[in-house]
């Protein structure tokens, strides 16, 4: 019998993706295009928030959206109907986007001149957290009806996000959602996380979020 030998491999499984994401960040920086990655559970309100937010900033910031919801064209169509430039990625049932898919998506998009490109990631709190998309800002949306225990169940998502937006705040009085508990749990996982509270339905809190975003995008483009 042949002798068993040990070969050192020492490779990070996600390093190719990370390298590609870093490359994307460099080329987008040169183009002065700010790439934002929006993640949440299905139905948390990503598309709705995007439509409302873009309406507020579109006079100052040129925005494009890359839709990655699983095999549905509905979201991109909704955005296009509002005059927002959007493309639908076909993720073929994939549970997340990686830097390669985003690169291909950007090629299919007319990126030149866009100040802000937003990825609506696949609705899922697990997988998208593990794959760097090349975004400079990772935003997670948590809707009030989902409950305040999400940070405990999906800790990785909270550690990779720069911003947490608690949405559907109009449901707050109807639920036992504990906002302070969420703030505290999220800060424990990620002390630097920035938290906004909004309702895309009533418009509550939206300006705080869009003013902040607009400022980030403008600063980035300087």
């Amino acid at each position: 019998m042949d002798e068993v030998r040990l070969i050192e491999v020492k490779e990070d499984i996600l390093s190719d993706n990370k390298a590609q994401a870093d490359g994307l960040r460099i080329s987008l920086k040169a183009e002065k295009s700010f790439l934002m990655n929006l993640m949440s559970s299905p139905g948390a309100g990503k598309t709705t928030l995007l439509m409302k937010s873009i309406a507020k900033i579109k006079d100052d910031v040129k925005v494009g959206v890359m839709e990655a919801d699983i095999d549905s064209k509905v979201d991109a169509e909704k955005l296009v109907a509002q005059g927002i430039s959007a493309i639908q990625l076909r993720t073929g049932g994939f549970c997340h986007l990686d830097a390669n898919m985003v690169t291909k998506g950007l090629e299919a998009m007319d990126v030149k001149g866009l100040d802000l490109i937003i990825i609506e990631n696949v609705g899922n709190l697990v997988c998208p957290a593990e794959f760097d998309t090349g975004a400079v800002l990772n935003v997670m949306l948590l809707s009030v009806p989902e409950g305040d225990d999400k940070p405990l169940k999906y800790p990785l998502m909270f550690t990779v996000c720069d911003v947490l937006i608690v949405t559907k705040m109009d449901y707050l009085s109807l639920s036992d959602f504990d906002l302070n508990a969420v703030r505290e749990r999220a800060k424990k996982l990620n002390p630097n996380i920035k938290i906004f509270e909004v309702s895309a339905k009533t418009g509550e809190g939206l300006d705080d979020w869009t003013d902040w975003l607009k400022n980030e995008v403008t600063t980035f483009g300087k």
Binding site: L6, E11, N124
Partner: protein, 116 residues
Amino acid sequence: MHELPVTEKILDIIVAHAERNNVQKVVTINLNIGELSDLEDEWIQNYFDYLAKGSVAEGAKLVIEKVPVVMNCNGCSNTFQVDIKEMKEMQCPDCDSKDYTLISGKDYYIKNMEVV
């Protein structure tokens, strides 16, 4: 949930190293995977068995070592391990600070492989 793409990546890396090292057969692959990742070990092995058919790594066993979540305290530079089930109660055991940075727990790493 994305065991499949991760497994494909593992196989690619293993096959590349096997070619470079004149390997006839890969017997065992030793991996480090962080506790924060949600991969099911059993599924990775199942996908691997399927994908590796006909390759130098056919039949290889994946041995997964879970890497604990470790934080570095920004208050006193102490490092401490965290039980993922207790992440809501986290603070530095030395100075009680709640300001810390994650230093491990997101790992996806192939350490080595045993081959003939």
